[in-house]
């Protein structure tokens, strides 16, 4: 109960902070629409309506991932600059429970971009996503956002110890686009990439979303996305402990 309160309040206040920066706000609105437009323009030339819908879905999840990837690893660096990182580490609550709401709030902003992309596709390009399972579609989107948040969590905790870890998020942004089947089907990638992509929660999330939109079995994807995300959560928690201890040894919590 008190854990839920901590997560909930942390998420809400983080969301409040993030939505208060006019610049970030504008970026969060405009950036994903640029992706979406490029993707729609490319796919409009050739494809069937299913491929276009798949592209719309893929582009929208790309927005979620990009929103988290680029900010997750810089978020703790910002806390460090503000001098709040020490307070987070020095608090009696487990550090992992303090960081998770930070990336959850980013993924929430990402969900906005998902909706915006779909609306944009519909209004400007006339792509009708007629959901086969609307409720399952919504659930799959939320689960995917959760998966992205947990990936962001792992990225974020690395920054506790390594001040340059912020680069990691940007470095991973594009490879994840490619290998998780956002735009190109996994089947056309080299064979060795596929097992790698199975280890990433969003791969499963995207496949579940596509299944819910186009017809198919969304539930295995949803379950796998949650399962792999749980693995990441565990990994992140263990990593958080190591990183904090290492930061206490190397005095990198504060730069004062």
């Amino acid at each position: 109960m008190s854990v839920l309160r901590l997560l909930g309040l942390g998420w809400w206040l983080q969301l409040k902070m993030r939505s208060r920066s006019a610049f970030d706000g504008a970026l969060a609105i405009v950036y994903p629409l640029f992706f979406a437009t490029s993707v729609f323009l490319i796919y409009r030339q050739s494809a069937s309506s299913t491929a276009l819908v798949a592209a719309a879905v893929g582009a929208s999840v790309m927005g979620v991932w990009s929103a988290v990837a680029t900010t997750a690893s810089t978020s703790l660096q910002n806390e460090r600059r503000q001098g709040t990182l020490e307070l987070l580490v020095g608090a009696p609550r487990p550090f992992a429970l303090i960081v998770v709401p930070i990336t959850l709030s980013m993924a929430t902003i990402g969900l906005y971009s998902l909706v915006a992309t779909l609306v944009w596709g519909r209004l400007v390009f006339g792509i009708e996503v007629s959901f086969v399972h609307p409720l399952t579609f919504a659930l799959a989107c939320v689960v995917t956002a959760l998966g992205v948040a947990v990936m962001g969590f792992v990225l974020a905790v690395s920054a506790v110890r390594y001040r340059s870890a912020w680069a990691l998020g940007s470095a991973l942004e594009l490879p994840i686009w490619l290998t998780c089947g956002f735009l190109v089907p996994l089947s056309i990638l080299p064979d060795w990439v596929r097992p790698v992509s199975w280890l990433v929660p969003v791969t499963w999330g995207v496949s579940a979303i596509k299944a819910a939109a186009l017809g198919g079995q969304p539930w295995p994807g949803i379950a796998m996305c949650l399962g792999v995300a749980a693995g990441y959560a565990l990994l992140g928690t263990l990593l958080a402990r190591r990183m904090v201890d290492s930061a206490r040894t190397h005095a990198t919590l504060a730069l004062t």
Partner: protein
């Protein structure tokens, strides 16, 4: 709180290409004990290692040697227990969420410090009042003045009613009335049984508040005792102050060389310079000091009892 021979080294980075890692010994084996309910002061010049010591005690830094226990919990092995019971307030305007209101900052930290949900609202209300931010608590912190931020820091540190409170220069930037209120608050917390470890550069603050003081310089304790003991132990005689108009520096060495004089320092006082001469017990140095300063234009001459500041200056200037 027991601190035994605690040490901390830092690797100071200089240069980019030649990553010459120079080891800095910030704290070189401090030992002291603080009783429950005691107010213990840690004084020392900039870079003496006060903040480093505090950060080790509140588990933000691991010691490179030695050990420390807070409320019987080891700061390395039982960090979680220590964190539950200690509060930490540092000086300066960082460490707050600028884009949130003061109230939201306190809500967030109340949750982080595991203040029970039922008590949060009331506790936050009390503290906002205590630090005098009522009426402004719903504004964003980015619009707060420096002293308001410091007040918010203090409220934050007290949220979970810590049994041990670490105050690292808590009165920086606070106006005189607010600083006096802060001293009253701290004194009341101590009366109620809170143990406090305070660092400050304001000697009167330390003198008024502290039960015992340790003076540290370059990472080592140079003296420890009650403020009275420090004053008496270090500066036994009286202190002579002479206002000099003109260049006092040139004759300082002459004054230092006088028999009975233990230390001499100079403070700027507008157009004049105040030469402060501390002497051994029983030594009557006023006349010889005046003789040594004979060539100068002199103003007011006074003798007084030594203050904690005199003792401090003496201690940290000792070779």
């Amino acid at each position: 709180m027991e601190v035994e021979n605690i040490q901390r080294r830092y690797r100071a980075r200089t240069g980019i290409r030649r990553r010459a890692a120079r080891e800095v010994e910030a704290v070189r084996g401090l030992s002291f004990e603080v009783e429950r309910g005691e107010l213990f002061g840690l004084l020392g010049p900039n870079g003496a290692g006060k903040t480093t010591t505090i950060k080790m005690l509140i588990t933000l830094l691991l010691p490179s040697g030695g050990s420390a226990r807070v409320l019987g919990h080891d700061v390395v092995r039982e960090a979680r227990e220590v964190r539950r019971h200690v509060g930490y307030v540092f000086g300066g305007d960082r460490g707050l969420y600028e884009r949130l209101s003061g109230l939201d900052n306190l809500r967030y930290f109340a949750e982080l410090y595991a203040v029970p949900a039922r008590e949060q609202r009331q506790r936050i209300g009390e503290l906002v009042e205590l630090v005098g931010l009522q009426g402004r608590e719903r504004e964003r912190v980015e619009g707060y003045s420096r002293g308001m931020r410091q007040r918010l820091h203090i409220a934050r540190g007290l949220l979970h009613r810590p049994e041990v409170l670490f105050l690292d220069e808590p009165s920086i930037g606070i106006d005189p009335v607010g600083a006096r209120e802060l001293r009253t608050t701290v004194a009341r917390l101590v009366e109620l049984g809170t143990t406090v470890l305070l660092t400050t550069h304001y000697m009167f603050e330390a003198d008024e508040l502290c039960d015992r003081i340790a003076v540290i310089a370059a990472g080592e304790i140079v003296a420890q005792g009650t403020p009275q003991e420090l004053k008496r132990g270090v500066v036994e005689g009286r202190v002579v102050e002479v206002e000099v108009f003109g260049d006092a520096q040139s004759v300082l060495d002459d004054v230092r060389a006088l028999a009975g004089v233990t230390s001499v320092s100079v403070e700027e006082r507008g157009q004049a310079q105040l030469v402060v001469v501390r002497s051994d017990a029983g030594a009557e140095v006023t006349s010889s000091v005046l003789a040594a300063l004979a060539g100068q234009r002199l103003g007011r001459v006074a003798t007084r009892e030594p203050t904690l500041e005199d003792a401090y200056v003496e201690l940290v200037n000792r070779p």
